[in-house]
Amino acid sequence: MSGLRVKAIAGNGVLGSGFRESSLLRGMALGPDFIGCDAGSTDPGPYYLGAGRTAFPKVAVKRDLSLLMKAARSAKIPLIIGSAGTAGGRPHVEGLKEITLEIAFENKMSFKLALIDAEQDKSTLTELWNRGKITPISGPGLNYEAIQVSERIVGMMGVDPFVYALDQKADIIIAGRSSDCAIYAALPIMRGIDPAVAWHAAKILECGAAAAETRSSPDCLFAELEKTAFEVEPLSGEMICTPQSVAAHSLYENANPFELIEPDGVLNIAESQYQAVSSRRVRVTNSSFKPKTVKNAKLEGAVFLGYQSVIIGGIRDPMIIGQIDDWTERLRKRLKSRVHDVYGKAPPPYHFNVSIYGKDAVMGNLEPIKKITSHELGLVLEITSESQEISNSIISLARHQALHLPIPEWSGLITGFACRHSPSFLERGKVYKFTDNSLMETKNPLAFFPCRFVNIEDGTEIN
């Protein structure tokens, strides 16, 4: 087994964010064993999981996917995509499948497609919760109530479903919510690479060229794994990897920089060694991996909060700026009283938020600077309620109150708020929040992440 080698290309950090075609071609010339690409993230927030939508536009996703599919199919190597469509739920996998079929049809491609489901049914989750198989990571966790009110809940898969699909000779895998690293760790582990090497290389690969010293734009990354070490290099000639840049990437997106918790176990990189083997290639050794006795999957849920409407505006009058907190409080009280007047005894519940840019809108309570030094302030007024109609109505009441809110320094009717738009408000539609992070025991991961296959011949689905 001393000659064991697995070579991997990471398309980029998120499918649809772009990479240079020349970098992919350069990587293909190195004889890769597979191409991977992460297609999701929780970075854009809970909306995408809740609403079943994708953060990157279809044209951008199709451009990247089309290049990766053509490269993988012409070299006859697997293409592995995880966390389809940003959030990795059923509509997200379905949406990416449609794009895949479009590309296959336009290019008359033939391949076996594996689709891995990560969405978890509420009945199964409720039953697991009752048996104590769901435990919180932070806060109260995904409890009984949260399961019931969630719009959609996905589990984060580890390597097993990918290994299964590859075993069944899938050419292209589109998986729902996945550990970013599992996308890249599965095939090397199958081939006999030490799991510590496979998971650490995967951690570096999962954001594409982000592990390079200066990532001028999203791009491909190449890794070569041996049984007990791996080497990485960027595929753009303009980028380089240094021991520092690769080690630094291990910090990215983790609260603890030494221990990375994955569905299959814990990768420890505290003792890892990073060594330059050329001016742009780095060799990594000495990582360790402790498998979990019982595997588990992180659960991510989105809860529907209501419909939102917002007004964007600003204030320039120094006397209003000088009393902005008091002004906001008076606006809040006046709005409450107007809502009462308009709706009568039982007004609909609503949530009113005022963000003040130029004061503390970016940092909120974490803002250490209390004094306003700006000559103008930007305001965002938000109303969230049970219907768009109610939110639109109440934000319109807020507009009129903000516009003419009196201050003691001025007599007569003033206009003390500059509205950016007409109509003054924007409909934001449905808004969601994430549920608290929890772990679900997955003794048999394949039962939670079922895989189905579709055969494509000359661009057409044949089963």
Binding site: A248, N254, T384, D436
Partner: protein, 85 residues
């Protein structure tokens, strides 16, 4: 929330540590949060100090002001390391 403070060289990294600038107490004071909720990791190999603390409002929830947590590092830029070499 996690903030990576990456130094240009190990000299400044060690000066920052010696002068206790990114201590738990200082971070607690700057951000107005409880010291017990703050984790600070020193990583000499890459001259980096990592600061992690829980979000007050969960990502994307009503009232969250920074969905990606992208701008919460700014107050750290006002701290000064005395270069007494």
């Amino acid at each position: 929330m996690t903030i990576d403070v990456m130094f240009e060289n190990s000299d400044m990294f060690y000066k920052c540590i010696e002068q206790n600038i990114l201590s738990v107490q200082n971070i607690a004071k700057i951000y107005g949060i409880e010291a017990e909720n703050i984790d600070i990791f020193e990583i000499p190999m890459i001259s980096t100090i990592k600061i992690s603390f829980p979000r007050a409002v969960s990502q994307g929830d009503l009232g969250d002001s920074d969905n990606h947590g992208g701008q919460q590092y700014a107050p750290i830029l006002d701290l000064e390391i005395i270069d007494g070499s």
